[in-house]
Amino acid sequence: MTGNVDPTVVNLTVFVLAVFVGYFVIWGVTPALHTPLMSVTNAISSVIIVGAILAAGAPVLDFGSGLGAAGVALAAVNVFGGFLVTQRMLEMFKKKERKPKSGG
């Protein structure tokens, strides 16, 4: 290749490969855990909080950084809520000690 590759093309490469990774990894998820899968992907997609932090962190406080801060708060609900509720669900799937048979 000659010349510089446009960043968008690099991004597209990353995107397509990530879709393939996602495809294969997700088919490996056991159907019993599809609800936790959904809540954890929810938490993961809130990584857009990164974009909101950048907007909020602009050197001057203005309309843009205000929107950013609002975005940070919204995404933070998901980050914490998503991972914690997933955790809560997965705890339920923990293997329990079978209760020893009681007298009845």
Binding site: P36, M38, V50, V79, G81, E91
Partner: protein
């Protein structure tokens, strides 16, 4: 930190996200997977905080603290039956956050390291990210309302499909208009960019509402999966416009996850994706039951049913959403324990669309402490109904309807749990009303079937009492 260092940290975070999903392949590794996800997220947030100007750091940390506290409280308090509502609400937040970021980027591109005035390429990506985000937001709000049963208060939230003449044409025209304004936006300069951008966003918000309202309550599992997918694509779109590979990777993972779940749900209902999206299904909910002659069924008491099960060798329980509605999970778990004590083999058969979102029934059973190794997916257990002594159907209807095997019936081809093959079938229902599909169920009229009418929780509790 140099840009390269930041990029490498983001790469690490992306790898953790992949590991998080990989962990979900088994209940034993899932908790570690979730931990990986948290680590990835922590890296992403801390590294980004280190990047931004110190002056605003306080405001950002405060925003994280407020949002995080709300999230943590909700995560702790939510009932497992409300999981679909919660997930829908969270999708809407991702969508809204994407929209806010997009507006901020149009307002001040330099905050994201984008050239000012913004190049056409970035505008195109921003357009895609923001309209997908807007549709995700308003669509998820409607889905939330439908799931939370707010239809009484506001008609758009009605769980029955909202359809009107020319709906699809309107949607198509709006979509075209939205794209038109999008093209205007990315061809415009720094002046004059706001009008097309705002109009485009407004149309996208309306479109999100219109896409979801015609979809009926029975199709909610597909809708949630679809919005899950959209929220991922919105994140990826924002990642493109900010040229941030971590966002692109995370978004692509989530997007494909949601797409696969939608596919699985559609297949489990034997519907094509477009058939669900175009909506209107389930409009005649329960209407078909009113017509037609009354057919005789055999009914029995919970005690009769308990007697049959206690003397069986093997029992397969088919839980449906009716069970969750009457909160009978814990009673069912008690019944299971008693039967196992009697030496009966007990298994659960879960249909992919049992519940209101993918895997919902599994979570509800896990909450009631039913060990997950007693719970089987449709493909794994269908061959065992033929040798089972009793199939106990609790609050499930369409997913055990043998009509699905009859060519020409409306649900022909839908994969079902073969409960009708069991030596005896015990069905608990509140009444003879039909399921979402509005069809009579042949299973109820078989000679080998005993109907036990009543609320699932009460009935199961009486069964438990009757077993000594």
């Amino acid at each position: 930190m140099s840009a390269n260092q930041v990029a490498l940290w983001y790469l690490a975070a992306s790898a953790f996200f992949i590991l998080a999903l990989k962990g979900l392949s088994h209940p034993e590794s899932a908790r570690r997977g979730n931990l990986f996800g948290m680590i990835g997220m922590a890296i992403a947030i801390v590294v980004t905080l280190a990047l931004v100007a110190r002056g605003n750091l306080g405001m950002i940390v405060l925003a994280i603290a407020i949002g995080g506290t709300i999230g943590a409280i909700v995560a702790r308090r939510v009932e497992m039956t409300q999981m679909p509502e919660l997930v829908a609400a969270m999708h809407s937040l991702v969508g809204m956050a994407a929209v806010l970021i997009a507006i901020a980027a149009v307002y001040n591109p330099s905050a994201f390291g984008i050239a000012d005035p913004m190049p056409v390429g970035n505008r195109l990506e921003l357009f895609i990210g923001s309209f997908v985000g807007a549709i995700t937001f308003s669509g998820s709000v409607i889905a939330f309302g439908k799931l939370a049963g707010l239809g009484k208060h506001f008609r758009l939230f009605s769980s029955a499909p909202v359809v009107f003449q020319g709906q699809h044409l309107l949607n198509l025209l709006l979509a075209l208009a939205m794209i038109g304004f999008g093209v205007w936006f990315f061809l415009s300069g720094k002046e004059g960019q706001w009008l097309p951008f705002i109009v485009m966003l407004a149309i996208a918000f309306v479109l999100g509402v219109l896409i979801i309202i015609p979809i009926g309550g029975a199709d909610m599992p597909v809708v949630i999966s679809m919005l899950n997918s959209y929220s991922g694509w919105a994140a990826a779109g924002i990642g493109f416009s900010l040229s941030n590979p971590m966002l692109i990777i995370a978004g692509a993972l989530v997007g494909s996850s949601g797409a696969i779940l939608s596919y699985i749900m559609c297949k489990a209902m034997n519907r094509s994706f477009f058939n669900v999206i175009l909506g209107g299904f389930g409009a005649a909910e329960g209407a078909a039951a009113a017509g037609g002659e009354q057919r005789a069924v055999k009914s029995g008491s919970p005690e009769d049913a308990a007697y049959l099960m206690a003397n069986a060798d093997s029992v397969i329980i088919v839980p449906g959403y009716g069970l969750a509605v009457s909160r009978a999970q814990h009673a069912v778990k008690e019944l299971t324990d008693k039967l196992i004590e009697k030496g009966v083999s007990v298994k659960y058969a879960v249909h992919p669309v049992a519940g209101r979102m993918p895997g919902h029934m599994n979570v509800l059973l896990a909450e009631a402490e039913v060990p997950y190794d007693l719970v089987f997916e449709m493909e794994d257990i269908n061959s065992e109904f033929g040798t089972a002594d009793v199939a106990l159907v609790l609050g499930a209807n369409d997913v055990v309807n043998p009509l699905a095997l009859k060519p020409g019936s409306p649900i022909y081809g839908m994969p079902i749990l073969d409960a009708y093959k069991a030596k005896t079938v015990i069905v608990n229902k509140r009444s003879m009303a039909t399921g979402y599909a509005g069809l009579d169920n042949e299973l109820f009229y078989m000679d080998r079937t005993m109907m036990v009418f009543g609320d699932a929780k009460k009935v199961v509790e009486e069964m438990v009492k009757a077993i000594h």
